[in-house]
């Protein structure tokens, strides 16, 4: 697979510290949903801290209270099916229990060349672009139609 890939970032502020028992429904599912991603069709890569299975300890320019999650996929469809039509949905549907109400867009998609691993800084830049200017070929959401070609990267799978 040498075509462009789709990168995604989603962020959130947990209602309580992760070790709080009220977050147990979320933290107890992390390894499961991460394994589902690793094995999902079209999965390429996800952000993981050294020595950990996820990035829940990692912090970004968005702030110390913000959890970040980032991954790369072969296509929109592959990402959408993972997020909304896999075991991941069972965790996502309870987001209001565990995460604060977002006051700004909290997820962003962008196209990247094959073989590129996005950095957290790059991802945050794309989210801030979306927040500042609305959807564009360089920072968009599931509902927006832009392709890799629109972003100047040549054709992806779809």
């Amino acid at each position: 697979m040498t075509g462009p890939r789709l990168a995604q970032l989603n962020v959130g502020i947990p209602n309580f510290p992760l070790a709080d028992p009220r977050m147990a429904g979320f933290t107890s599912m992390l390894d499961t949903v991460n394994a589902l991603a690793d094995n999902a069709p079209g999965f390429v890569w996800r952000l993981v801290e050294d020595g950990a299975n996820d990035a829940t300890e990692l912090r970004s320019p968005l702030g110390d209270d913000v959890l970040v999650n980032m991954s790369v996929w072969e296509s929109r469809e592959a990402l959408w099916d993972y997020v909304y039509r896999s075991g991941h949905l069972d965790v996502l549907r309870r987001r209001a229990e565990w995460f604060q109400l977002p006051k700004a867009p909290f997820q962003v998609l962008w196209w990247i060349p094959a073989g590129h691993l996005p950095t957290v800084e790059e991802a945050v830049e794309r989210l801030e672009l979306l927040r500042a200017e609305g959807p564009s070929p360089r920072a968009f959401g599931f509902r927006d139609p832009w392709t890799a070609e629109d972003a100047g990267l040549g054709a992806a799978v779809s």
């Binding site: 099916d81 997020v83 909304y84 039509r85 896999s86 075991g87 991941h88 949905l89 069972d90 996502l92 549907r93 309870r94 987001r95 209001a96 229990e97 109400l101 977002p102 509902r143």
Partner: protein
């Protein structure tokens, strides 16, 4: 063909039975299978099935059922399955979809998931009837349009009644749907609804609650 004509195609009772059988199956079925299920001759079934395809209510595919190919393997069988089309007609004109989409959009931004799920659970409970086993649950779910099909120990639901909304607002609407079904099965202590999302189906399955408790 206009939606009203496509709906009218279902008026014939035999055709209706064939349609309901085909859409309730997981995957495509042959004429013979559909004919047997509807209790009619194969050629009559073929006539009706092709009318349903013509109306856009079913789709066909071609497959070698025996898994052979080459000379002597026989013609591939023509199989039928539900089409992806949505057909609606209301008199007088009603457009609940636009309102639902707007309400869902606002509820999503305000992250009203928990409140919506509570409301859906109450709604489900209010509509709940005593249901003693999976077969009885299947009848209740079929009446609500879910197209239940058994898959080993669980009932999978082939149709999402909120399909377009669930594509546009999946977290919100699928969470609502699960809560609704949980409420509906409240009077069925041996059964439970749980989420088991996969592409192409409703995200909820119904099973005996003693199975694999986790």
């Amino acid at each position: 063909m206009e939606d009203i004509d496509a709906i009218a195609v279902l008026q014939d009772p035999v055709r209706r039975r064939l349609y309901e059988y085909v859409v309730a199956q997981d995957g495509a079925v042959s004429r013979s299978e559909a004919a047997e299920a509807a209790g009619v001759q194969r050629t009559l079934a073929a006539f009706h099935l092709d009318k349903l395809v013509g109306a856009g209510l079913l789709e066909t595919e071609s497959r070698r059922l025996g898994g052979q190919s080459g000379p002597g393997a026989g013609r591939p069988a023509k199989l039928y399955r539900r089409s992806g089309a949505e057909v609606q007609f209301s008199v007088p004109a009603r457009d609940y979809r636009t309102a639902a989409d707007l309400l869902a959009e606002v509820a999503e931004v305000a992250r009203l998931d928990t409140a919506l799920q509570a409301a859906a659970r109450r709604e489900g409970r209010a509509a709940a009837q005593p249901v003693k086993d999976l077969a009885a649950a299947s009848a209740v779910l079929a009446a609500r349009g879910y197209q239940p099909c058994p898959d080993g120990p669980v009932l999978r639901l082939a149709n999402c009644p909120f399909h377009v909304l669930s594509q546009r607002h999946p977290g919100l609407v699928c969470g609502m749907n699960l809560a609704l079904l949980e409420g509906l099965l409240d009077a069925a202590p041996g059964l439970r609804a749980r989420m088991d999302a996969r592409p192409g189906l409703c995200c909820v399955v119904v099973e005996n609650s003693k199975t694999n408790d986790h």
